[in-house]
């Protein structure tokens, strides 16, 4: 079966990439100034003996390359390590925090796609008319404004001034309503959505702006293709041409961008989670860096790196789904 073999092949190709990521992160984290043991003791007076014992216990007294080797052998066996600061396995910590981050990133993408594609098509159809100019300005602002700033502005306007939406935290839809003090699922999920709106817009605006511009360019190109002219000459209504004939081939670059921007979105999530006080992986990452929690930093980086690779593979697979000219590396 072509698809399965292709996926496995592409994932195997990702191994060197992941090794590269691990080396860079490991070296960078360890080169950062500060000493995790002293940070852990939080300024308490401690004798050298105690510090040495702690270092020994976590293997911090060994040379860098030995520690790296130990870490990697653990990783291959599925062991992401043990957070020295929180004294819990890294995988547990990440699983705990993965839900909110996934919820945030996915809803931001949903927001971006649902808005960007129609707007891009309209801009392409009304090329160089006022609608197009407005969309160009909106896109420019969207691309050039940092997500945390958008977040802060949204909080000021909608949470502080208007008071219509909450400014912090998330309500997790997978929890029972009672846990959040809600009487029914309807109320619970309404609250979920209300909490999600602002961070979703803050994180999704950059993606929306990028996608909108690409969609416009692609649609303009695709509307000038011979097969679109042919469809017109055969009396195909203009809206069918837009929705079907020109649309489908224009979506390939969109998929690429969604796949590649996954890392940007996860990076943005770090900031947006901090602004909106969401307990996701992004915030965990910020805390890990502040505490020089080596194992946690490594764990999060490796997982994010892996997700990026998966994103690229999914992109390639969907390419072949949309474009019949692309095959899974097999001859017919």
């Amino acid at each position: 079966m072509g698809l399965l073999r292709y996926t496995i092949y592409r994932l195997l190709q990702a191994i060197p990439v992941l090794i590269g990521i691990s080396i860079i992160t490991f070296v960078l984290a360890n080169l950062a100034p500060g000493d995790p043991v002293r940070l852990m003791l939080q300024g308490q007076q401690a004798d050298e003996e105690l510090i040495r014992t702690i270092e020994q216990r976590y293997g911090l007294d060994q040379p860098l390359h030995v520690r790296y080797w130990n870490y990697m052998t653990g990783l291959v066996q599925g062991d992401l390590g043990y957070s020295i600061h929180r004294r819990r396995p890294v995988s547990d910590l990440m699983l705990e925090r993965a839900g909110p981050t996934l919820l945030l990133v996915l809803s931001a993408y949903l927001f971006a796609i649902v808005t960007a594609i129609p707007l891009g098509i309209i801009a392409a159809k009304r090329r160089n008319e006022p609608t197009d100019h407005i969309s160009r300005i909106v896109a420019l602002i969207g691309v050039s404004t940092p997500s945390f700033w958008i977040g802060i502005m949204l909080i000021i306007v909608f949470a502080v001034r208007l008071g219509v939406l909450p400014s912090a935290g998330l309500v997790y839809p997978w929890q029972p309503p009672e846990a959040a003090g809600h009487g029914s699922y309807l109320e619970h999920w309404t609250e979920t959505i209300r909490h999600l709106i602002l961070p979703m817009i803050a994180l999704g605006t950059l993606q929306m702006a990028t996608l909108m511009r690409v969609e416009r360019t692609q649609m303009i190109e695709s509307l000038q293709e011979e097969y679109v002219k042919l469809a017109r000459a055969y009396g195909v209504p203009e809206r069918t041409i837009l929705r079907k004939h020109a649309f489908r081939s224009a979506q390939l670059p969109i998929i690429t961008i969604i796949g590649l921007n996954l890392s940007t979105a996860l990076g943005g999530a770090v900031l947006v989670e901090t602004v909106f006080a969401i307990n996701g992986i992004g915030r965990l990452f910020v805390e890990a860096i502040q505490q020089l929690d080596y194992q946690l930093i490594m764990g999060i980086t490796m997982v994010l790196g892996f997700m990026f690779v998966v994103g690229v593979v999914i992109t390639d697979i969907s390419y072949a789904y949309i474009d019949p000219r692309v095959t899974y590396g097999e001859r017919e």
């Binding site: 097969y227 002219k229 042919l230 017109r232 000459a233 055969y234 009396g235 949309i322 019949p324």
Partner: protein, 408 residues
């Protein structure tokens, strides 16, 4: 001939409004297409053939626009401008609306076959799906019947295993096979007129032959009329019943095909025929037409072909010839836009022949001043002298330069 024509085009003008000026891509052409005939539209690249054919469907893209003339199809008005009481041009009330064009004319009555079969099919949909969609739209058949019809048409145009090929994508078809699919699309909609815009230009010669045979055969059976756009006189000879020769947006000669070949009335048509590669002639015997076709943005004064015409005389730079009837053949008029024919009576015989070298200079001299015909001629002659002086200068200069180089 006795019956009404299927399509009547009169004085059609299509212009492109570009930043550098107005391009008169089609500048007042007239022709008819009768039922069951193949009418050729011939000319060099840039003569306005494709723009003319897209104008017939009212599918000229911005910045292009049809600015004048009449197009009538089966008594319906595809395009007509009339002068209102205020002197402004306005659309005739009988003119079909955009949605009527789409629903009643495009595909259903007039179908097209495009030049490039590689680009004309959508790469992300199956060949059969695309064919079926056009059949559904233009013949209002339900999906399954349209599919059966699509498969039947694929078989009809000589595609083997049509049921299997129906599900395949365009990239799995060769160029010739794709062109067959496009022909199937055109025929499947059961139009009365098919515009074939250089449909064999992108194909190699053996495939071209097959396609021409196929069209000939299908045309006999379906009795569809064709407008065959091409620059290839060989194709014209093979397939067309009557021919319109276009030069710079104008029809310069119009005749039944045999008449055009054996009793050519316009120097441009002769030039086209002489420049045609043939097995019985060597490259040395080929006579390419002098120069390139001028831009339609600023056409030469008088007869547009005069700068390249071997028969050009002084009068040709002044008089712009209409496409008048100069002869009759097979019950059709033989029209030619050349003042050397007696019907024009503008003094061609008495006029001084233009020499070719001079002509090139004349064109340079007259740019931008073609409103005043008299001064154009004077200016042309003046610059002719200048041109000669220039030439003399150059011949003088080159030995000097050679000397300069060898001196050290």
């Amino acid at each position: 001939m006795s019956s009404e024509p299927l399509l009547r085009v009169e004085n059609l003008k299509t212009q492109f409004f570009t930043e550098t000026g107005t391009v008169r891509a089609v500048d007042g052409i007239s022709f008819e297409v009768y039922e069951g005939e193949i009418v050729g539209l011939v000319g060099e690249s840039g003569a306005g053939k494709s723009v003319a054919s897209m104008s017939l469907l009212r599918l000229v893209e911005s910045p292009g626009e049809i600015v004048g003339g009449t197009i009538e199809y089966k008594g319906e008005t595809i395009f007509d401008l009339e002068e209102g009481p205020d002197g402004e041009l306005r659309e005739h009330p009988d003119m079909l609306s955009e949605s009527e064009m789409r629903e009643r004319i495009r595909g259903r009555e007039i179908a097209v076959i495009f030049q490039d079969p590689m680009e004309s099919l959508n790469p992300v949909f199956t060949v059969g799906g695309q064919l079926r969609e056009f059949i559904e739209i233009n013949r209002e058949l339900p999906k399954d019947e349209a599919k059966a019809e699509a498969v039947r048409m694929l078989r009809e145009v000589g595609i083997p295993d049509p049921e299997d090929r129906y599900e395949e994508y365009p990239h799995q078809f060769s160029g010739g096979m794709r062109q067959r699919v496009l022909i199937a699309m055109a025929l499947a909609c059961e139009p009365n007129l098919i515009i074939a815009d250089e449909p064999t230009t992108a194909l190699d010669v053996t495939v071209e032959g097959q396609i021409l045979d196929l069209v000939d055969d299908l045309q006999d059976r379906y009795d569809t009329s064709f407008i065959w756009v091409t620059h290839d006189m060989g194709v014209v000879a093979e397939i067309c019943d009557r021919v319109n020769v276009m030069y710079l947006g104008e029809v310069v000669e119009q005749a039944p095909v045999d008449e055009l070949f054996y009793d050519t009335k316009h120097p441009y048509t002769s030039a086209l025929l002489d420049s045609m590669p043939r097995p019985d002639r060597t490259v040395d015997e080929l006579e390419p037409i002098e120069g390139v076709m001028p831009e339609a943005i600023n056409p030469p004064s008088g007869c547009r072909f005069h700068p390249r015409c071997p028969d050009a005389r002084e009068v040709c730079t002044r008089v712009h010839p209409e496409n008048l009837e100069v002869d009759q053949a097979e019950g059709y008029p033989h029209r030619a836009a050349c003042v050397k024919h007696d019907v024009f009576d503008v003094g061609y015989d008495e006029s001084v022949p233009l020499e070719k070298g001079d002509e090139a200079e004349t064109r340079v001299g007259e740019t931008g001043s073609d409103e005043n015909v008299d001064s154009t001629v004077e200016e042309g002659q003046a610059s002719t002298d200048g041109g000669k002086a220039n030439e003399a200068n150059q011949t003088n200069r080159s030995p000097n330069r050679d000397g300069g180089e060898s001196r050290p």
